[in-house]
């Protein structure tokens, strides 16, 4: 059993984090397959923003927010042995917010008033990093149902991978904030409050009192849900440090994602959150960085004008000596470019090795991964890599 197998077997919640574009969604799905292969258990992968072809391959187009089981025939067809059950679900932010409001609203009147408020859609889509918070909420819910032995969450693309760690805290802070107090003080008394008078004067003049009143109305409604929201956010926050939870950081070996991965690992450590593994994705074969390979690339370049081209042409048949010579020269030049990247990757990999006891390198694979076969292939790499 590999370290990653161990991790997937021993935890109940896995949060997959990292920069955008490194393959988080795909790897979250592949980890789901790896877990279901190893264990006789029910595994759920909650994705946020899957590529459309991948979503279609997983049957997500029709089902959206509710978990859907990937039919065993998909695996059987491929000769992939899966002992558990694999489910996938997609995070629907809008539906998620509506659910939250429905759950926390003290009565039907307030619920309807919030849902109908013109600011509601606008506000929920941007404040307190609602995507991140909702992903965590959903994880909490799905885990709490007890229907799944393992829930793997693909975290939302965000400008800062850290924002997921702070999302519940921001939600709690928001309800305790001066802003909310200020906004929800009756409008008339607000105007006379000495402390905020200059602000009110400016805000009224610039934004118009009507707009401010609209905002205030909304937040007064919102405040009635404070208790439920805050209690819930605390529960969600505690999931992050729960011993049953682990983070898996996904990165490529490019400069910016590696930098982000290291930053994220440090922050997890500072917050006493558990880093289960680091996955380096789309890694070039290490032998490309081997000096012997560089020598091999250079040698035919020098010899290209000579005997090799002639011999090669003779062996391959119906190609000209010139074509062989040009091809060899271009191969050498192309190799130098790739070798440079491979050498840089080797350095980055060494940097990542210090972050976690479990560093899994997933090799670069041809084409895009957009079907169960591709995911199963990826899962194989996850399970074989040490």
């Amino acid at each position: 059993m590999t370290d990653l197998d161990n991790l997937l077997a021993s935890r109940e919640m896995i949060l997959v984090a990292g920069s955008g574009g490194v393959g988080k969604t795909t790897l979250a799905a592949a980890m789901g397959i790896a877990a279901a292969q190893r264990q006789k258990s029910r595994v759920l992968v909650l994705t946020v923003d899957p590529a459309r072809r991948l979503a279609t391959a997983l049957g997500l187009d029709e089902f959206g927010n509710t978990p859907v089981r990937i039919a065993p025939r998909h695996f059987k067809k491929l000769g992939v042995k899966v002992s558990g059950e694999l489910y996938v679900a997609m995070l629907d932010t809008r539906a998620g917010w509506d659910e939250l409001i429905t759950r926390h609203a003290p009565d039907a009147e307030i619920r309807e008033a919030v849902l109908a408020n013109p600011l509601y859609r606008n506000i929920t889509s941007r404040f307190v990093h609602s995507h991140e918070y909702l992903a965590m909420e959903r994880l909490h819910d799905l885990h709490a149902t007890g229907d799944f032995d393992l829930v793997i969450v693909d975290t939302p693309p965000s400008r800062n991978a850290l924002s997921i760690l702070d999302a519940p805290r921001r939600m709690i802070d928001f309800f305790g904030s001066r802003l909310l107090r200020w906004l929800t003080v009756p409008y008339r008394s607000r105007l006379f409050a000495v402390a905020s008078r200059p602000f009110n004067q400016i805000a009224d003049r610039v934004l118009g009192s009507r707009f401010l009143q609209d905002i205030a109305d909304f937040f007064i409604l919102f405040q009635s849900m404070e208790r439920g929201f805050v209690r819930r956010a605390r529960e969600v926050e505690s999931l992050l440090v729960d011993p049953r939870t682990a983070f898996v950081i996904v990165t490529t070996l490019e400069t910016a994602p590696t930098h982000e991965a290291r930053h994220l690992a440090r922050e997890l450590d500072a917050r006493r959150m558990s880093l289960g593994a680091v996955i380096a994705n789309r890694v070039l074969p290490a032998r490309l960085a081997d000096p012997a390979a560089a020598a091999s690339a250079a040698a035919p370049a020098a010899a290209a004008r000579g005997q090799l081209a002639a011999d090669g042409a003779a062996r391959l048949g119906d190609v000209s000596r010139d074509d062989v010579a040009t091809t060899l020269r271009k191969l050498a030049a192309g190799f130098d470019d790739v070798a440079l990247v491979a050498a840089r990757e080797a350095e980055r990999r060494a940097e990542l090795a210090s972050l976690s006891a479990t560093l899994v390198a997933v090799p670069w694979m041809p084409g895009d991964i957009h079907d169960v076969a591709g995911l199963a292939e990826l899962a194989k790499h996850l399970r074989s890599a040490a």
Partner: protein, 324 residues
């Protein structure tokens, strides 16, 4: 595409999915514009500091820093923008007291749709109106946020019925919706998700904002290195592996690996760019001749910085036919 179309605008938004090289491209466009004699301001909207890294310029401020001749760089700050706005338009000099006030305002701006964005967009439009620069290049928010940024004046006009801000949305929209003055460049890489996001963004830009896409920049595109005959040679080279090994040593397979990997990446990438072109042509709201500018992959061991920006500017100069 002629340089006139892109560099002769007043305001150019540069956006794209995170990780595609948006900031480096914005920095390179600005450098190119400046080196062709245009007074250029480049503004980073998300204050992550990537623009400062691109120019190796220390920390950028709201007050523009001169990078080289004709090139200034700044970072957007809601608080500073508000301060300037109050001074210029409301005639409220509040320099000393603005600290806690701005903090509260920041809170409101965080929650209320369009307020934060309008302060950023307003500053940019103000600079356009005052003609302090020939071109303002915006290292804008990533594609998820750019629509609400450019569309902020529309949102504000819808939500805010009275007040100074509403009154000012009109002239901003005139600037933002004029294709001769304002354009949007969508940066992508030849990969699945960035291309998909670019297609969605191009559609949303035209349907939800009045802004006009000016070009797509495909970054990190691998050039086609081999012609058809040479591909034939590569395919059959493994049958001559012994000859190659004799001539070049045992690691010759790694060389062939490298070629295979590069060629597969190139082919996959080209297919994604074809998909992008087809989507542009198929979208009735888009100009079917929307230029697609290709910037080659720079194989380099360097981290983002001035050297990369200059290489990108050179590549863009060639594509855009800019005389420097």
């Amino acid at each position: 595409m002629s340089s006139a179309a892109l560099l002769d605008l007043d305001l150019l938004w540069v956006t794209g999915k995170g990780g595609v090289g948006k900031t480096s491209i914005a920095a390179a466009i600005a450098e190119l514009a400046a080196s062709s004699g245009r007074r250029t301001l480049v503004c980073e909207m998300d204050s992550k500091g990537a623009l400062a890294t691109a120019y190796d310029a220390g920390v950028l401020q709201f007050e523009p820093t001169e990078i080289v001749d004709d090139l200034w760089a700044m970072t957007m700050s809601t608080e500073d923008s508000l301060r300037e706005y109050l001074r210029l338009f409301v005639r409220m000099p509040l320099a000393g007291r603005l600290g806690p006030l701005a903090k509260t305002f920041d809170f409101v701006a965080d929650a209320a749709p369009g307020v934060k964005e309008i302060l950023g967009v307003g500053k940019l439009c103000y600079e356009v109106r005052e003609q302090h620069y020939d071109l303002i290049v915006v290292d804008a928010e990533a594609s998820g946020h750019i629509v609400s940024q450019i569309g902020a004046p529309n949102v504000i006009a819808d939500l805010v019925q009275v007040g100074l801000v509403r009154d000012q949305t009109q002239w901003m929209r005139e600037i933002l919706e004029d294709p001769d003055r304002t354009g949007v460049v969508v940066v992508t890489t030849p990969e699945e998700m960035p291309v998909t996001e670019s297609i969605e963004l191009l559609g949303r830009l035209t349907s939800e904002t009045g802004a006009h896409p000016s070009a797509v920049i495909a970054n990190r595109v691998l050039p086609a290195r081999f012609n058809r005959r040479e591909h034939g040679v590569i395919e059959r080279l493994p049958t001559a592996l012994d000859l190659l090994t004799d001539a070049a040593g045992g690691a010759v397979e790694a060389v062939l690996d490298a070629a295979r990997i590069t060629e597969d990446r190139r082919r996959t990438g080209a297919a994604h760019l074809d998909r992008l072109r087809a989507a542009i042509v198929a979208d009735a709201g888009l100009d079917p001749d929307l230029p697609m500018i290709t910037v080659p992959e720079l194989f380099t061991a360097r981290a983002p910085g001035p050297r990369i920006v200059s290489l990108l500017a050179d590549a863009l100069a060639e594509e855009l036919d800019v005389v420097r």
